[in-house]
Symmetry: C2
Subunit: 224 residues, 2 copies
């Protein structure tokens, strides 16, 4: 890559980091715990989020931002959970950036939220480089994608704070090798917490939401 491109790219990333730092400060001041979800397209981010919002809304004030290249389908789908949701459509941009999150939050009173979810564009590569000011970045891996994905897309697993293996109800149907998947995640990121869920059968959802409640209750404490 010629030097000029690298320079421009570093400029974009630096600017994004600064914007993300401001966002993180805003979130902290308003005691909002922010969770971002990253994965391949179709790994089940929206389904997991739908179940999570329904489960959490009786216990705390939740909301979500959802990113896609096109359509407002996810916002409409999540809106049916009865919580505030806003869609970010990125056009041809393959990831969310901190400024897009800031723009989407315009006029949204952060003080009205305890937990904000940010669902990224489905992409296992590019979102890794963009800090969105989140407290917790969760990478999803569905059992149908294959156990080798952490080895083949190491950067995003490296940038995550928690891994969630989704569609666990399909594990037998696809011959999912659980130990190999865990092993590969830990080869890339030793010690990363792993949960297994199925939004469809409900398996593992209680453990996931309970982990979120536990982490969000620490939201007043100093964070990264």
């Amino acid at each position: 890559m010629p030097p000029r491109i690298v320079e421009v790219r570093e400029g974009i990333l630096k600017k994004n980091d600064q914007r993300a730092r401001q966002l993180r400060e805003d979130f902290r001041q308003h005691s909002v715990f922010v969770v971002s979800l990253v994965s391949s397209p179709g790994a089940g981010k929206t389904a997991l989020l739908e179940g999570t919002l329904r489960e959490l809304k009786s216990r705390c004030r939740v909301g979500a931002l959802v990113g896609d290249l096109a359509t407002e389908r996810d916002a409409e789908r999540l809106g049916r959970a009865g919580v505030p949701v806003r869609q970010i459509t990125t056009g041809t941009v393959c990831h969310l950036e901190a400024q897009m999150v800031a723009d989407a939050l315009q006029g949204w009173d952060l003080a009205s939220l305890d937990v904000l979810f940010i669902e990224n564009v489905g992409n296992l590569v590019c979102p890794a480089s963009y800090d969105l000011g989140e407290d917790l970045r969760v990478v999803l891996l569905s059992v149908t994608e294959g156990e080798d994905k952490p080895l083949k897309y190491p950067t995003i697993f490296n940038s995550a704070d928690l891994a969630v293996i989704t569609k666990i109800d399909l594990a037998d149907a696809v011959g999912f090798r659980r130990e190999e998947a865990h092993h590969n995640i830990h080869e890339v990121r030793p010690g990363l917490g792993i949960l297994e869920t199925s939004a469809r059968s409900g398996e593992g959802m209680a453990a996931w939401t309970s982990r979120l409640r536990e982490l969000s209750s620490l939201a007043g404490s100093p964070r990264r």
Copy 2:
């Protein structure tokens, strides 16, 4: 996006298009039919390719280039099909570019091939913008990803010449709505050919390889 970035990005794309044009000319001169595969991570590109290489190798001379951020796993896996395979590892780059293909082909006698497959990095966004000199771009969509993906990632479906719905053996297990998927593909790209396959059960593989043989037999004719 500030003007300077757009300008640099357009420069990259223009350079890629020129390189791709040269590649296409090389392929044509050597009568190599080139098929690229694009999809989400885990949609089954490598599995489809593995079955395809085994099926085609008795009928014509085939080879493959496989792109990943990291690891040589796919090349090793495909190499077991007994055909020449080379791995391209892109590091942090989320897509293949024409120059990477040209570099990977260094020293490979194109005259020794009838059909060359290029498996892109798993990404449903960025590869859409990069011409690799291929004759046929095939976009894969697995039944586990959901029927709405064409609407949410329109650019890549728009840039494809053929769509292959993969893991069709799992259709019932995941409640795949076939007509909705076809409808959504055609909403984005009217008339796009659609095949349905399962590399695991073998369903649809004969129709797929027969379509490839049919198209490659036209490889001497003028192409796009």
